[in-house]
């Protein structure tokens, strides 16, 4: 039997959890209410890429032995969408709340900076994963996709969406206007995702561009994720996991520091 003090501390813990849980729930509902735009739209976009690129390139390109180009393309497209949507979730929620002014409702609460971070982070991860799973389910209609190692897939999907969700928080805190956020998306996120080997293996590139690609953290997320499907990749998945995990830790620490100091949120 548990004594009263034990029950009390559990009750206190539950109450303490309710704050961050409420924020997470609000963030999830926020994108779910407009799922047509936040889930269906990116799924359609990814499928258009799939149809067009596989139609044009299927008979011309073979990246790995015995892997058709369409099958090669699908994991890249899934991961690209996971990353872009994780970023979009936290960044657009924050910039909207800032521009509308309703971020004040969160700033007035006893939520700590860690709770704030976790709520936005987890919501971003979930949005990314929901979009990724939807693309996977639809893509299964078109082609058989093998899975070599599910754990690599899960690990890279989680860490990748966490990394981009965190990056989205930083962008959302930093940007004051929608055009600054658009610049973030168009000049950083888009080039990095498109040049990360979603549509090609970097081994098909000239040596110089192979080296450049290896400086792109997105390359490791895509390559590691793809490894989970084919058991083959451009680099060792363990190395990729360390790069992605390290990048996430660095960005998470920067974000926590920004949130703790109240940078751009509390003057």
């Amino acid at each position: 039997m548990m004594n009263d003090a034990g029950i009390n501390s559990i009750a206190r813990f539950a109450t303490a959890l309710r704050g961050p849980w409420t924020l997470l729930k609000k963030e999830l509902l926020r994108f779910w209410r407009v799922a047509f735009q936040t889930v269906a739209a990116p799924v359609i976009t990814a499928l258009l890429y799939l149809l067009i690129f596989s139609h044009v390139l299927e008979s011309h390109v073979q990246v790995y032995d015995g892997v058709p180009y369409t099958a090669f393309l699908i994991p890249g497209l899934i991961m690209m969408s996971v990353l872009q949507n994780a970023f979009a979730n936290s960044s657009s929620s924050l910039i909207q709340s800032k521009v509308m002014g309703n971020i004040v409702f969160i700033l007035l609460t006893p939520l700590t900076h860690v709770q704030f971070f976790l709520a936005f982070l987890i919501a971003a991860i979930i949005r990314g994963l929901v979009v990724g799973v939807c693309i996977y389910l639809v893509a299964m209609w078109f082609i058989d996709i093998s899975i070599a190692n599910l754990w690599w897939i899960i690990a890279f999907a989680l860490l990748g969406s966490a990394l981009l969700g965190t990056f989205g928080i930083i962008a959302g805190i930093w940007a004051d206007r929608f055009d600054q956020m658009a610049a973030f998306q168009n000049f950083i996120i888009m080039p990095l995702t498109f040049l990360s080997g979603v549509f090609y293996s970097i081994h098909s590139l000239p040596p110089f561009w192979q080296k450049v690609s290896q400086l792109n953290p997105f390359f490791y997320m895509i390559d590691g994720f793809r490894y989970g499907f084919f058991g083959a990749g451009d680099v060792d998945p363990m190395f990729s996991l360390r790069v992605v995990g390290g990048a996430f830790l660095v960005l998470a620490l920067i974000t926590l520091k920004m949130l703790k100091s109240g940078y751009k949120l509390r003057s």
């Binding site: 309710r18 704050g19 309703n102 004040v104 409702f105 700033l107 007035l108």
Partner: protein, 308 residues
Amino acid sequence: MPAIKINGVHKHFGALHALRGIDLTIEQGEFFALLGPNGAGKSTLINILAGLISPSAGEISVMGFDVQKQYQQARQLLGVVPQELVFDPFFNVREMLRFQAGYFGRGRENDAWVDEILEGLGLADKAKANMRSLSGGMKRRALIAQALAHKPPVVVLDEPTAGVDVELRQMLWEFIKKLNREGHTIILTTHYLEEAETLCNRVAMMKQGQVVALDTTSSLLNKFSGKHLRLTLGNVSLPSGIEQLVRHAENGIYTFALDDMAQIEFVLSALRTADIKVLDMQLNEADLEDVFLSLVGESGKDAVRSVS
């Protein structure tokens, strides 16, 4: 233990010294008004109290909890109604209130209180309406409801009635008065001086980042116990002897501040000598506006005029 204790608070915004050493103690159960012209520092002070900005020096505590070092406890005890009409367009009124209470650790057991707020603020039939679809007045009520969702013992209202029609203002004040009777400490900033006069038991007046008067409403009024003579004269030039008594002049209506009744005869005879006809006449007691104007001066006058 006081509801709010403000101790030597300074705030610099770059070169601007927005708060210049504020000391203020507000006891539990008070209905307290913070008055002052635009730019006096009222909102800056409230934002520091709410933890939205940090002070350059000094400290503020809510029921004994420092708003910076013990911000979780302090914010738990504080409900702040922001000045701007902000809202979250994704949710309806009841959802917003549930979320707001949830951030403070309150769950379904709080629903009865949420209903009470909705009822008290006349929002019950809008509970399922999206925030976006509400009129300005309704949004203002929802904003107040959000600040109250976690049932805070100390409630701060920053210009709650700016741009709100008379009927709604009455209703809001009835509700806030009820909260005050039930033991909530109420602090408000307002431009409507008659509101502070009828509602608040104590008043602080701020000017250029300092508190220039702090007293009970009644004794502030006693200190300025003069009379006001309002004369409608039309477009005239006043004789020099009585010009310095003019407190306010607009559209041919002149308000003279008089120390005693004998001065009435003085003003009227001066007008007669100058051959100026009195078209209408009113005699009033001094009100908080006079106290405000005499302490806060010309800059305050403009602020008051702009909203009245």
